[in-house]
């Protein structure tokens, strides 16, 4: 194909050639500018931008009710513009981040037009891939852009076969049952041919693979014993590596924020709360809780020490272990040291986790005194060998013996999407599917694609096509992908070891990114398509990830800005070019689909005898609520199993809680033994392989959703010296001559980044914290190893699998050092808002 630039040049050749010798000195300026000749030139170089007529505001003034990852809200519209936002009156605790949602829609970082990287446009696929991230982009028409996308999809499929295109496209896409960009992408690709898919996610990658072996369910995305039950029955609430006040702000669908009244009620009860965390976080302060700060990544050793104390002091519930669990007898010799000569005593654990042995013994006693709820966040498993941590937590809870009792047991989702918010008996809304085959037992999962990789292994895949990889008992080969199409995600934020990734990304001949703003990923793409935000299209979604308390009509707030198009429309257009439009749309419009989803829910409601209005009434009202039921308000996780373990067995091979897994034993993985086991991670604070003196905690931020909204005015609520804050203990700061507010450089052998120091005793010595999700802002774009000017902590993290079992990411496994930055400060370029500079 002729490069477009050459074609452009050809079009210009027909024009008359000018000459330097043309003189007009005898023609007065006035006469010339008023001449027909000048008017002709002007017409060619400056077409009129004003035409007679009156603009019509397409959206009437008033309030529009809709929803988002941050909650349901009312948007004020004036003159076609969205001017104000306020949380839904039925939301008990609207997130302060809603202001940032409005900002993001009108951010100067919006992708306005379809764009193509210039070298790609002029020289074709694979051109100058090392310049991705710094190369120019040029605007093209939608037709040109979509023709190019389709040409590439076909070329890659024809040249490299069904595994040539990677469409594992992961990330926090916007909610909405129709404009689910990732399902729509794969729906289109299933019509085209095939693609490489991904499995898992970056949040719970390790836990969601091991928990089915242990508990028979994913566990991490399931309803918890509800808050009113905790308030009533729990005597000791333990948050282990979690910051629920911060992270419950967001939900995968539209959050109901139901955990907040629960947490408030628990606080009011005056019952004790413990936070186990290297940071005395916001939630710990909220509860006025006891703070226990072990060395990071040593939780498993700490739990073993507590378990050992329970066993030797006979505090454990042998009856529960006998009746409800499998394999404690196989784990016990390891715990006592009978099998390896090392008793996992409190003293042994103390050496590793840095807490006094007496503290561990005290915890063993307190955990078994009354009803104890062990509520763990996901940080524990987003670490090297992370599978083992939640497995050991379950083992500890089993020894306490309160799983299935009101107020006791363990929970892996109290910090997320308001797990434990009492539920309603509402229907479940279906959504657009990717057209793949439904996975048995999990209607929301489908298996599609010619191959699947554990998603955090993308860089391994790019570096080692054809190499073997292990994953949950299977051994497969990495496909040789040449193209990727990414939508609803920003891997240049969520993936680890940025510098390694920047280089591996060059393997792609073609990168298509569909988003609404210029993320770092979009900047490293070849073809960039402008999608609308959720607020520029109609959709429908449920409210309350676990409670399902309402269905909300996500009404369009404003018309699409610039040339943005909805995800459904973009993929429908691509499907049309593939000759598959009818198969893609099934002949239905946006509103047809929304009504169809609603009507499917309506049918369920009729069977359940739950009241629901007609679609028209619902759309007019904006939502339909479902009352919380008595059952929902008193739900106790695993109560059924406890009541009758034979009739209500778990989904594990033994039907019981598996403290020892024969299935995992059969896999024979050296890094995932068949019962919870302490293994040294690849690096940890004061560990045998430690090359740097500080652990970097990479927790979820308070003022954004991962990387989303980092480009908004919310940044003012948290930055220090205009950079991501870096919490550092006064002791560590003093040793390095760092003062509060200083710009500091964090570094290790993987990368380097700047941050703003916050000297505080709310973090233990030896640990510093930089939240994940800071926008990647390399001083030298496209150059691996470049200093990051703003604070993308994934410049420092390690990119290895948690183990052969789950192959999940290890975003919390990172050692580094920090120093006061004394060089010339590179300016932050990534937020191009003049007034925010």
């Amino acid at each position: 194909m002729e490069p477009p630039a050459a074609a452009l040049a050809k079009r210009g050749e027909g024009m008359a050639k000018g000459t330097k010798h043309f003189t007009s000195s005898d023609l007065s300026r006035r006469a010339f500018l008023g001449s027909t000749a000048a008017a002709g030139v002007l017409g060619a170089v400056a077409p009129s931008l004003l035409v007679p007529g009156m603009a019509q505001a397409a959206v009437p003034d008033g309030e529009v009710f809709t929803g988002s990852h941050w909650g349901a809200f009312r948007a004020t519209v004036e003159g076609g513009r969205w001017t104000a936002v306020k949380g839904w009156e039925n939301d008990p605790q609207p997130s302060h981040q809603l202001e940032g949602v409005l900002d993001s829609v009108y951010s100067p970082t919006r992708i306005k037009y379809p764009m193509v990287r210039r070298a790609f446009l002029e020289k074709g696929p694979g051109a100058d891939v090392e310049s991705r991230g710094k190369d120019d982009f040029v605007r093209v028409s939608w037709d040109e852009a979509l023709d190019l996308v389709v040409k590439e999809l076909k070329r890659v499929e024809e040249t490299y076969g069904p595994t040539g295109t990677y469409a594992g496209s992961y990330g926090w896409k916007s909610p909405g049952k129709l404009h689910n960009c990732q399902n729509l992408l794969r729906r289109m690709l299933n019509l085209k041919g095939s693609f490489v898919n991904s499995a898992g996610d970056y949040s719970t990658g390790a836990s969601q693979v091991i928990m089915p072996h242990v508990m028979g369910t994913l566990e991490v995305y399931e309803q918890q014993t509800v808050w009113p039950v905790l308030v009533e029955s729990t005597d000791l609430l333990v948050f282990w590596g979690a910051d629920p006040m911060v992270t419950n702000q967001i939900g995968w669908i539209i959050p109901d924020h139901g955990a907040y009244p629960g947490m408030e009620a628990f606080k009011q009860s005056g019952k004790p709360v413990i936070f186990i965390d290297p940071v005395r976080n916001e939630s710990c302060d909220f509860f006025g809780a006891e703070w226990i700060a072990p060395k990071p990544q040593t939780d498993l050793a700490m739990m073993l020490g507590i378990a050992h104390t329970m066993y030797v002091e006979n505090l454990h519930d042998q009856g529960f272990l006998d009746d409800y669990t499998f394999g404690f007898d196989k784990f016990l010799p390891y715990l006592t040291g009978e099998s390896d000569g090392t008793p996992k005593s409190a003293e042994w654990a103390s050496e590793i986790c840095g807490l006094p042995a007496d503290k561990l013994k005290e915890l063993a006693r307190r955990f078994t005194e009354g009803k104890t709820m062990l509520a763990s966040g996901w940080s524990l498993q987003r670490q090297h060998l992370g599978e083992q941590r939640h497995w050991m937590l379950v083992t500890l809870a089993s020894m306490i013996g309160q799983i299935g009792l009101p107020g006791g047991g363990f929970g892996l989702s109290y910090h997320y999407s308001s797990g434990g918010s009492p539920g309603a008996n509402g229907p479940v809304l279906p959504g657009i599917t990717d057209g793949g085959t439904a996975v048995e037992g999990a209607a929301w999962l489908t298996e599609s694609g010619a191959a699947t990789i554990p998603l955090a292994r993308i860089v391994d895949m790019l570096e080692n096509p054809g190499a073997d990889f292990d994953f949950n008992g299977k051994r497969e080969k990495y496909p040789d992908v040449k193209m990727t199409y990414w939508t609803g995600g920003n891997p240049f934020a969520h993936h680890q070891d940025r510098n390694r990734m920047v280089k591996a990304w060059q393997k792609f001949e073609t990168v298509v990114v569909q988003d609404f703003q210029w993320t770092a990923t979009a900047r490293h793409a070849d073809i960039v398509l402008p999608a609308t935000t959720s607020y520029e299209r109609n959709d429908i979604e449920q409210y309350g990830d676990y409670s399902l308390k309402a269905i909300i009509g996500m009404k369009k707030v404003i018309d699409p800005v610039f040339e943005a198009r909805s995800d459904f429309d973009i993929f429908a257009e691509i499907s049309e070019r593939l000759g598959k439009k009818d198969e893609f749309t099934e002949g239905k419009s946006e509103m047809d689909w929304i009504e169809e989803f609603y009507d499917a829910a309506l049918q369920q409601a009729e069977i359940k005898q739950v009241e629901m209005p007609s679609f028209e009434e619902f759309w007019e009202q904006g939502y339909v609520e479902f009352p919380v039921t008595e059952a929902g308000n008193s739900y106790v996780r695993y109560a059924d199993y406890r009541e009758d373990p034979l009739l209500e067995p778990l989904g594990t091979p033994t039907g019981k809680i598996e403290i020892f897994s024969r299935n995992i034993e059969k896999m024979g993985y050296d890094d995932c033994p068949p019962h919870p086991t302490w293994i040294e991670p690849i690096e940890r604070l004061d560990g045998p392989t430690a090359k740097y003196p500080l652990h970097v905690a990479t927790s979820h931020p308070r003022g954004r959703l991962h990387s989303q909204l980092n480009g908004t005015s919310l940044r003012k609520t948290y930055t220090i010296a205009d950079r991501e804050p870096c919490l550092i203990n006064p002791e560590d700061a003093a040793a390095r001559g760092i003062a509060d507010g200083d710009v500091v450089r964090l570094f290790n052998d993987r990368g380097q980044m700047l941050a703003g120091a916050k000297v505080t005793d709310a973090i233990r010595p030896g640990v510093i914290r930089v939240n994940e999700g800071g926008w990647y802002d390399p001083v030298e774009p496209g150059t691996p190893g470049s200093l990051d000017a703003y604070g993308d902590v994934n410049t420092l993290t390690v990119d290895i699998g948690t183990s052969k079992l789950a192959q999940a990411n290890c975003g919390h496994t990172v050692l580094a050092d920090v120093e006061k930055f004394t060089g010339d400060l590179p300016e932050i370029k990534v937020f191009n808002t003049p007034n925010n500079g």
């Binding site: 060619a44 077409p47 808002t833």
Partner: protein, 234 residues
Amino acid sequence: MLGTSEVIGSPQDLGSAVSEQLSDDERAFVYRWLAGVFARELSVEALAAYRTDEGVALLQHLEGQPALAGLASQLARCSAGEGALGPVAGELAGAFARLFLSAGGRRSAPPYESAYTSERGLLFQDATDHMAKRLNELALTLPRDFPEPPDHIAVQLSVMAELASRGADRGADQAQEELIRMQQSFAETRLIPWVPRFRDDCVAFDRSGFYAAAADSLVAFVMHDVACLQTRGD
């Protein structure tokens, strides 16, 4: 690279260097011409138009205006010779996208009043609303193929062109005086508060030199024109 930006004096210097006032027709011409530069990328066709005899003559005339000389000479340089214009257009399109379409998510100069005058530096803020109302008062609207908010610099310059053109060839009657006041008021409320900062961003971040020069000429011309309107209004 197109080369570095030429050194251009401050607008104040340029203003005093202009000895002759332009007619309203000429002012309308210049405003519309400037609008064209910022409205969208220079196409191969536009560059070719500057290569025609008429185009060359036009640039020569514009180079005679001290405020506009920088931009006119950049255009003359870009369209000079007989080589293919595609690569030049590509280079300029890249610079345009980087500065005005926020490509690369890095240093840019959003060509919208809202970005410079709203508290949070956002698009579609009060300035957008003001401009929408202004266009309605003038019974004008934007064409479908220009899906930009009305506080885009090119729209504001087009409004100045329109007002100047409405004033052309009228005697010094009351309507003419009213039109001059309208133009003064429009320039002072809608352009002067932000175009110098917009220019600063263009100068700081433009790697092509072309748009730095264009923004310099823009500010110099607006400042000069406002001074002239002031004289006429007195």
